[in-house]
């Protein structure tokens, strides 16, 4: 039974749409996080002096701290964005897909 259902879903254009859209979205976000994080790690390794500089003359806040705090907040906002989209738009598409497969299976 399951296998037939999977067959129906695989052949439904909505499945391709779901997989490509969600996949592209997830990978984009993942690349942003990985890029920023490992970019930061490389800065730590090769340009430590830059991270220790104040964000402006006389400030006690250094570039490194400001950038890190930004990443803590920004990465979390990205997770919120993904959850919102995946639990809304993508899950509706998934439900549609399963309904279609049930219909075809009858």
């Amino acid at each position: 039974m399951s296998s037939e259902m999977y067959e129906h879903m695989r052949n439904n254009p909505k499945f391709v749409k779901l997989v490509t859209k969600r996949g592209r979205f997830a990978w984009t976000l993942a690349f942003i996080v990985l890029g920023m994080f490992y970019g930061f790690v490389l800065l730590v390794a090769f340009r430590p002096a830059l991270l220790g500089r104040p964000i402006w003359q006389g400030s006690m806040v250094t570039i490194g701290v400001a950038f890190e705090l930004f990443m803590f907040i920004f990465f979390w906002l990205l997770t919120a964005l993904y959850v919102k989209k995946a639990n809304g738009e993508f899950d509706e598409l998934t439900q549609d897909l399963i309904k279609d497969a049930w219909k075809e299976n009858k």
Partner: protein, 558 residues
């Protein structure tokens, strides 16, 4: 069963009271610490509350699904708190605040590396984990591969991770409790071991989850309170704190620069990889994804968990910085009253001293109780993950080939918890004086190199075959262990040789590619009939992973 429950509860309360009484008998000369009654009373309250919950949970733990995953009925918010709890161990609170205290900005970099894995887990794994798995992550790796051999491999690496992590927690717990509560090391180890067994054996995942949730709340409240009180001394101004901290710290302005900890790029990147992907391979964290109703709730749990973790890391950063001024300039916290000397109780006590400085004995007591509760909750989660690898993977699937009844499977699981508990107690006592710093690193290294590559490939790469998975998994396991053994933390610090054979402390950057490469090569050259079927079976797995159709649900059983 009821009688057994009562017996278990009585045992737990007994262990707690014995500890309370054993205090004054302490004969330690060097680290003699007055019995801390505030801490003990607050901790006993925690134990009483969690025992009540365990009793309640025991009545609800009937099937294997109840035992391993709380029947899949935990909400995203609850699970988020529990994941955050699993992730924020006592080592996080004490170790990271101490790192900021000693090294300044380096500690903050560490925390980001600990945190950055979470978004990645959400984007690439959470959904498929929930849709494909049921009780353990081997459910996913063995989904379309050979059950016996692949599950055995996954169980071995899971148990390796669990044992090292558990041992590190136990030894840390013993030393911490000795210091904070004024109890003897052995008594502390027995208390942790026995309480852990009671929670897991009787309450299964339901109790473990609630212990974790309560503790996470306590930790968040306690940490925040100390941070607010400490910051109030500086008019809540970050600039004031940094100005004064850099003025008094021996590093001076270098305090806010990346420092010696991540001096060479290889170590920095390897650490980043190890922490990021190690998180995604820790069995007790992965298991948490199976406790929620569906992929929707799984995603929400990561959202809440990463919110709490990211918030708390920033709180810890403030604890460390304010500690530099409040603790570091107060002679009464140093041995012999010499500022800049050795902190009383060792370097990890910064957060505790800070609590005492800003909130007196009551706050110190509360934070100490939180630290103890934290250790208990984390070891319980670990024990459950280890037990499920033994009972669900090895016993039910490999030995009984899926023919074991639920009752015997749970029984085996409980016996496994008892065994793990005793192993943890015995090793904890044996390793009291050993340098255990390498153990957490090893646990993360094995998780990143043995668990993560095979898991992610099994979800994403059609071409993975049994042979590839076995080579990748064992290859990652062996190389992570070998690299750590040959590195300074074991070869020099434990074995006592002069120079390390492997120059880096972090194995991930070498061990992970080895695992991926072996898995790839041996899958590619696997031309067997079985391999063909496994590759074909990916199609259905892929649809299920994407849509959640056919996934283990909270109400139906398969």
């Amino acid at each position: 069963m009821r009688v057994l429950n009562r017996l278990g509860l009585a045992l737990g309360l007994l262990a707690a009271t014995v500890m309370a009484h054993a205090g004054p008998a302490l004969d330690g000369i060097q680290e003699k610490q007055a019995t801390n009654w505030h801490a003990i009373i607050m901790f006993l309250l925690f134990v009483a509350l969690t025992m009540g919950i365990t009793y309640w949970a025991a009545g609800r733990t009937k099937s294997t699904s109840d035992f391993y995953t709380a029947g899949g009925g935990i909400t995203g918010f609850q699970n988020g708190l529990a994941i955050a709890g699993d992730y924020m161990s006592a080592a996080t609170l004490l170790g990271l605040s101490a790192m900021v205290y000693g090294q300044g900005y380096d500690g903050y970099i560490y925390m980001l590396a600990f945190f950055a894995g979470w978004p990645i887990i959400l984007f690439l794994m959470a959904e498929r984990l929930r849709n494909l798995g049921r009780f353990t992550f081997s459910d996913i790796t063995a989904y379309r591969l050979d059950q016996g051999s692949v599950r055995t491999m996954a169980a071995i690496s899971s148990l390796t991770v669990v044992c090292f992590y558990l041992l590190a927690q136990m030894v840390g717990a013993g030393q911490l409790i000795k210091l904070l509560f004024g109890l003897e090391y052995t008594v502390a180890i027995f208390a942790v071991g026995i309480l852990m067994m009671v929670y897991v054996i009787f309450g299964g995942m339901v109790a473990t989850t609630w212990v974790q949730i309560i503790k996470a709340c306590m930790l968040l409240v306690g940490g925040t309170l100390v941070a607010i009180l400490a910051m109030s001394r500086f008019g809540f101004s970050y600039s004031n704190v940094v100005q004064q901290a850099t003025a008094v710290h021996k590093l001076g302005p270098k305090l806010m620069y990346p420092g010696s900890l991540l001096a060479d790029p290889v170590t920095a990147i390897s650490l980043g990889l190890g922490l990021m992907f190690g998180t995604a391979g820790l069995p007790h964290i992965l298991m948490r994804f199976f406790t929620v109703t569906n992929a929707k709730e799984a995603r929400k749990s990561v959202l809440y968990a990463s919110g709490f973790v990211s918030y708390f890391f920033n709180v810890i950063f403030l604890l460390g910085l304010t500690g530099i001024i409040i603790v570091g300039q107060n002679a009464s916290f140093f041995e012999g009253g010499k500022i800049g000397g050795k902190l009383i109780g060792g370097g990890n006590m910064v957060a505790m001293h800070l609590a005492k400085a800003v909130g007196g004995n009551l706050l110190l007591g509360f934070l100490a109780a939180v630290a103890f509760a934290t250790i208990l909750a984390v070891v319980s989660g670990l024990a459950l993950a280890g037990a499920s690898a033994i009972s669900h993977d090895l016993y039910a699937r490999v030995i009984m080939k899926g023919k074991a009844s639920e009752t015997t499977e749970i029984k085996v699981s409980r016996i496994a918890v008892i065994c793990l508990g005793f192993i943890a107690i015995v090793l904890g006592i044996l390793f009291e004086k050993q340098n255990i710093a390498f153990m957490v690193g090893l646990a993360f290294g094995v998780a990143a190199a043995a668990n993560f590559p095979v898991l992610i490939l099994s979800m994403y790469w059609k071409g993975l075959t049994t042979r590839g998975a076995l080579w990748g998994g064992y290859g990652g396991l062996v190389s992570a262990v070998v690299f750590v053994v040959l590195s300074k933390s074991v070869w020099v610090d434990v074995i006592g040789r002069k120079a390390a054979l492997f120059p880096y402390g972090q194995p991930a950057i070498f061990a992970m590619p080895i695992a991926f490469l072996l898995a790839f090569i041996f899958s590619k050259i696997d031309g067997s009939e079985r391999a063909k079927q496994e590759i074909e079976a990916f199609e259905d797995q892929y649809v299920r992973g994407q849509t959640g159709f056919g996934a283990a649900s909270a109400t139906t059983k398969h």
